[in-house]
Amino acid sequence: MKRIAAMFLVVLGLAGIVWSQATLSINGAGATFPYPMYSKWFDEYHKKNPNLQINYQSIGSGGGIKQVTEGTVDFGATDGPMNDEQLKTFQDKHGFGILHFPTVMGAVVPTYNIPGVDAALNFTPEALAGVFLGKVTKWNDPVISGANQGVKLPAEDIVVVHRAESSGTSYVWTDYLSKVSDEWKTKVGKGAAVNWPVGLGGKGNEGVTGTIKNTPNSIGYVELIYAESNKIPYGNVKNSAGAFVKATLAAVSAAAAATAQDMPEDFRVSITNAPGKTAYPISSFTWLLIPEKFSDASKREALKGFLKWSLADGQNYAESLSYAKLPKEVVAREVKAIGKIQ
């Protein structure tokens, strides 16, 4: 018995030595919204490259930016791009910059619970901004009913539900509202957490959905992925070309494609309220944050390899998980940008 135990220990020790020599481990942290996509990617990529293990903690976009700036992780991930001040902080601390790489896209959809109304409602930007500013307070307000001819909307008070905790979903939603409403822009602004003028806070997508289900005449917003996987009905939103568009993966990709030609060099672009008749207006990229310089050459090459794979084969996993693929133009530009990592 003792001999078996000893042999077991020796084998374990040898395995440990072999394992530690061959496996390179890279750590990342950040956004929760793309987490299902990333964990699928890291898992598939690990199967193809058993020597590389990428660990990802979905601690939130703010945490991702913070940790990659502190240097406690090798890369970060965020739903809202880093602002100029954050980029400067990174530059000052490390002496080199950080790159944004869009990975996939998602959308945020308005969802509601009005007893007696089963039809998918049409929302104009004015209606959404008015409701979330607390100015449109009844469901039968002309600004809502005007876009929904034939639907009988009740004369009831609207209960607004938003995310309680900071989230990329709120960032995309408020980014959109800031673009379509000057009043929203000056009074509230865009961010993962804002000072909501009205409404109840639900914790997480499930908290928002639960509150809406429980509260008659309520409205809120959730991620498209969440609405799809939980069969939650959602409304159409009028885009900048004047068409009411249902959030589909194709409509999200269309929004990204429409903005691809004006894509800035650093990929920090918002695709809410994108031009184009088929574009869904509340769409967004999500980004990986990769430092420009790596002192460890093996890590650098491994990450570059992974990025190339994620832009090519990796994109094929997106739609089965309800994320929209990157448009070809964006992929081509990102492949070029990988060369900036040194």
Partner: protein
């Protein structure tokens, strides 16, 4: 708790009669030093905690000063941070929960300790301890799926109908809000009150009851006028344990309070608590001022707990001195 500190000096005279070396050899001194270190570490951890919270909140303390406690705008985009609605929400929900939990908890404890047969009492105690061990997220889920719909459909309209003239019960019934959070918290803290109070009541010497009964009092008079006052210190202790839990509870509260920083006389109004906002916003807080304001909220919660605990101690001391023989603190 007070009894543990009195054992150290009482060992003094005995220990003093031997030499330091012999005390080391016999282990007394070593045991004393080691346990002293353990006890000191509690103080050290508390001080470090305050120090870190203080250090971590330099920016908002300098920028807002005392206004942090007076203003009620919480706006991460425009860098305006005021803690008042969170302090209010924390105190109101904890207060409501105690209003409900104290009579229920103490009543149950009296029944279990004084009136119920021992077997029933012990069986129920097992369930109560089980309740105390349920994770708060479970209570939060029950709150969202059961308490909130009940509140919105029946309890809040009912209260509005009967007591609607009071400002406490006005405004739209969302289901979530101060009252709901208070009720869920009450459910969570009742086991603490029952469990601790029952133990205290059971430890009241038997001759106290017998003396009262022999003087011709009824069983209830003996319980209410003799046993309960005797155990008052310990019962108060259980209430403050419950209060501490209610003040710091995060998960269950954030799921049912509505997460809106408002100050409203109506208990139906959605609100927010300190622990809930920290948990909700800490992960994504970008910008130093924002992050440090959340840390300062942590400091505020610590101070609140400190003040309330201090008051609790004072209250216990004051009430124990009034009557004779208050053995439990």
């Amino acid at each position: 708790m007070a009894t543990s500190t009195t054992t150290v000096p009482s060992a003094g005279p005995v220990a003093g009669s031997r030499s330091f070396l012999s005390r080391i050899r016999e282990g007394d001194e070593i045991a004393r030093m080691i346990t002293f270190l353990f006890a000191a570490s509690v103080v050290l951890i508390t001080l470090l905690l305050v120090f870190e919270l203080w250090q971590g909140s330099v920016l908002p303390r300098h920028k807002f000063g005392f206004n942090f406690f007076r203003t009620s705008v919480w706006d991460p985009i425009f860098d305006q941070f005021g803690a008042l609605p969170f302090i209010y929400g924390t105190l109101v929900t904890a207060g409501v929960s105690l209003l409900i939990a104290v009579p229920l908890g103490i009543g149950a404890a009296i029944f279990l300790a004084e009136l119920a047969p021992a077997r029933v009492s012990d069986t129920l105690e097992f369930f109560i301890d089980l309740l105390a061990a349920v994770p708060s997220v479970i209570y939060g889920l029950l709150g969202v799926f059961i308490v909130v719909p009940l509140m919105r459909q029946y309890i809040q309209p009912g209260l509005k109908h009967t007591l609607g003239f009071l400002p406490l019960f006005q405004g739209p019934a969302y289901g979530v809000g101060f009252l709901t959070a208070g009720i869920v918290l009450a459910i969570m803290v009742i086991p603490y009150i029952i469990s601790v109070s029952r133990e205290i009541l059971l430890s009241v010497p038997r001759d106290q009851r017998e003396a009262a009964l022999s003087l011709g009092s009824t069983r209830w008079e003996a319980t209410w006028k003799v046993v309960v006052p005797f155990a008052r210190g310990g019962i108060l202790g259980s209430i403050f344990l419950a209060l501490a839990r209610a003040l710091g509870e995060t998960m269950a509260v954030t799921m049912v309070i509505g997460n809106t920083p408002t100050i409203s006389a109506s208990l139906f109004s959605p609100g927010y608590s300190i622990a809930a906002v920290i948990a909700n916003e800490f992960t994504e807080a970008t910008g130093d001022l924002y992050l440090q304001s959340l840390i300062e909220l942590g400091l505020v919660l610590f101070i609140l707990t400190f003040i309330l605990n201090g008051l609790a101690r004072l209250l216990i001391v004051a009430t124990s001195q009034k009557g004779a023989g208050m053995g439990h603190t």
